[in-house]
């Protein structure tokens, strides 16, 4: 569904991604893990057309994403939930969610999705009218994921969804991802939380200083020495 080939991205001459290749098949859940500053977010941003790609390309469902505007990419069904959430802070929870469904034209469909999200995150239902900016960190994360679901994406890219969440919440979010995945959604997950991420996904990539160090079925990775040492502190 999504294929990334030899992607190179640099900021002000400094290479951040140095030829990254990656593949996500339909219905799969794929995780990208790696330490801080490895370039994980940059990878997703590059796919979304938000970072200047110097070479390499990304193809989504047969369409080359090079040169496409971000909004076009979203309309293709590729939705990105950024690390810093990017909520519309002064707007209410519900307005944020509705904006998530901006590219959906059928009001009934929007309503349906809204109910689905509220069911997924009852806390959001309680706070429908609260301004997004005044919610706690975890609540904001739920809203961000919920908003990402509103347009009915074909591929959902989540950038560190567990960031700043309470343990209980973290498992809830991962549970949600698991459920979404079971419902057939394709997911690309970027996580710091290596074990959970790998347990959740089919396939994993280890990104380090801009290169893929290792890849393979998640269960294999979980057992690999390199991962156990570098990320699981074992």
């Amino acid at each position: 569904m999504l294929e990334i080939k030899d992607l190179v991205v640099s900021y002000a001459g400094l290479p951040v991604l140095q030829g990254v290749s990656l593949k996500v098949e339909k219905g799969q859940a794929v995780s990208v893990v790696g330490s801080n500053g490895a370039g994980k977010s940059t990878l997703l941003k590059a796919v979304m057309g938000r970072a200047r790609v110097s070479s390499g390309r990304a193809v989504f469902r047969g369409q080359d994403l090079a040169g496409l505007r971000t909004e076009k990419i979203v309309r293709l069904g590729l939705v990105y939930v950024p690390e810093d959430r990017k909520l519309f802070k002064p707007l209410s929870v519900e307005e944020n969610l509705k904006l998530g469904a901006f590219i959906v034209d059928d009001p009934a469909q929007v309503q349906g999705r809204l109910e689905y999200v509220y069911e997924l995150f009852p806390r959001l239902a309680e706070r429908r009218q609260q301004a997004a900016g005044s919610m706690s960190g975890g609540e904001q994360q739920m809203l961000a994921i919920g908003r990402g679901l509103m347009s009915g994406p074909k591929l959902l890219m989540l950038d560190e969804p567990s960031l700043g969440l309470a343990p209980l919440m973290v498992s809830e979010v991962f549970e949600t991802v698991r459920r979404l995945r079971q419902e057939g959604l394709t997911v690309l997950l970027v996580e710091q939380n290596v074990r959970e991420a790998l347990e959740l996904t089919d396939h994993g990539y280890i990104l380090q200083t801009g290169r893929i160090r290792q890849e393979g079925p998640s269960s294999d990775l979980l057992r690999s020495d390199m991962v156990r040492e570098a990320f699981l502190g074992m």
Binding site: M48, R50, R69, T70, E71, R75, F88, L91, L99, S151
Partner: protein
């Protein structure tokens, strides 16, 4: 006493009319401000362009100046889009001050281009259904046709803007873009197009205002100055991005500007000695800025603002 009440009533009516005119001029600025957070120093120049557009096309087409308003709107929208793509887009890469000096350059450019082409003489529409008409509606209460039309247009335009932003999908896109451009992109909103649209709308609305005003106000290349500061104050007082705020603030400023005759009437009531020498006409705009400042200090986000 009666004279005082009459003066007050007259001022109220005149203030309301003038206030709606101010609001109309400020509407385009609010839209641009609201969506893009850009201070457009050249706003008054857009007004001037609209005025010239009507002034020049009416005799050319041989129609009443009022009928050329759609053309003015077109010119304003075109100018807005041109400015956005040619200049503003690039300014947005930098800090806020870049907008200030970029649009200041635009202001100098447009103003003096007009000077080269049109000369500095003030010009005005001499024929048309609005020209020179006014209606007496009470003892000494006269409503000028142009102002009346502008006030009506103002109400209509504000309703339209409110409807667009509050009730339509385009409006949602405008709001989202104004809050967070990047986030709006992730929602699938074409922010470039939304921004250009905001400039087109802003430009069109102020150009239409210009086309209407030239029935009463003379236009010259410097005419923008008269209205720009008032428009700025109107928009800030109402709260950036608040359509309702601009309307209320415009009317408020219109009222403030009409205070001097009431003051005079009051002095006359108290006795002519006091009336001697102390007129506040020369300070009427001073009061606008002063009251603006005082209100802002108490409500730093403007009357209806929520953005900061």
């Amino acid at each position: 006493m009666e004279a005082l009440f009459l003066a007050m009533f007259k001022a109220l009516v005149a203030g309301l009319l003038m206030g709606l005119v101010f609001a109309l001029v400020a509407l385009g600025l609010t839209i641009i401000f609201g969506v893009m957070d850009v201070v457009n120093f050249a706003h008054g120049e857009f007004l001037m362009v609209g005025m010239y557009a009507t002034l020049l096309t009416a005799p050319l087409l041989g129609v009443d100046p009022v009928l050329t308003l759609p053309f003015s709107a077109l010119v304003g929208a075109g100018l807005g889009v041109l400015c956005y793509h040619g200049l503003i887009r690039h300014l947005l890469r930098g800090p806020t001050i870049a907008q200030l000096f970029g649009t200041f350059g635009l202001m100098l450019f447009l103003r003096n281009l007009a000077l080269m082409i049109m000369g500095s003489e003030p010009m005005i529409v001499h024929q048309g259904i609005l020209v020179g008409k006014s209606f007496v509606v009470g003892p000494g209460i006269v409503l000028g046709a142009t102002k009346l039309a502008a006030a009506a247009l103002s109400l209509g335009a504000f309703w339209g803007a409110w409807w667009l932003i509050d009730r339509t999908k385009t409006g949602k896109a405008l709001t989202a873009t104004s809050l967070d451009k990047e986030a709006a992109m992730y929602m699938g909103i074409s922010t470039e197009r939304v921004n250009a649209l905001a400039w087109a709308l802003g430009g069109a609305s102020v150009a239409v205002a210009g086309g209407l005003l030239v029935n009463f106000w003379p236009v010259d290349p410097n005419v923008g100055l008269l209205f720009t500061m008032i428009a700025f104050a109107t928009v800030a007082l109402g709260g950036f991005g608040s359509i309702k705020g601009a309307l209320v603030a415009g009317v408020l400023i219109g009222m403030i500007v009409q205070a001097p005759p009431v003051w005079d009437a009051m002095l006359r009531l108290v006795g002519s000695d006091a009336a001697e020498g102390f007129t506040i006409h020369s300070l009427k705009y001073t009061f606008v800025y002063l009251i603006y400042f005082l209100i802002m200090v108490v409500r730093p986000q403007g009357l209806f603002g929520w953005k900061q």
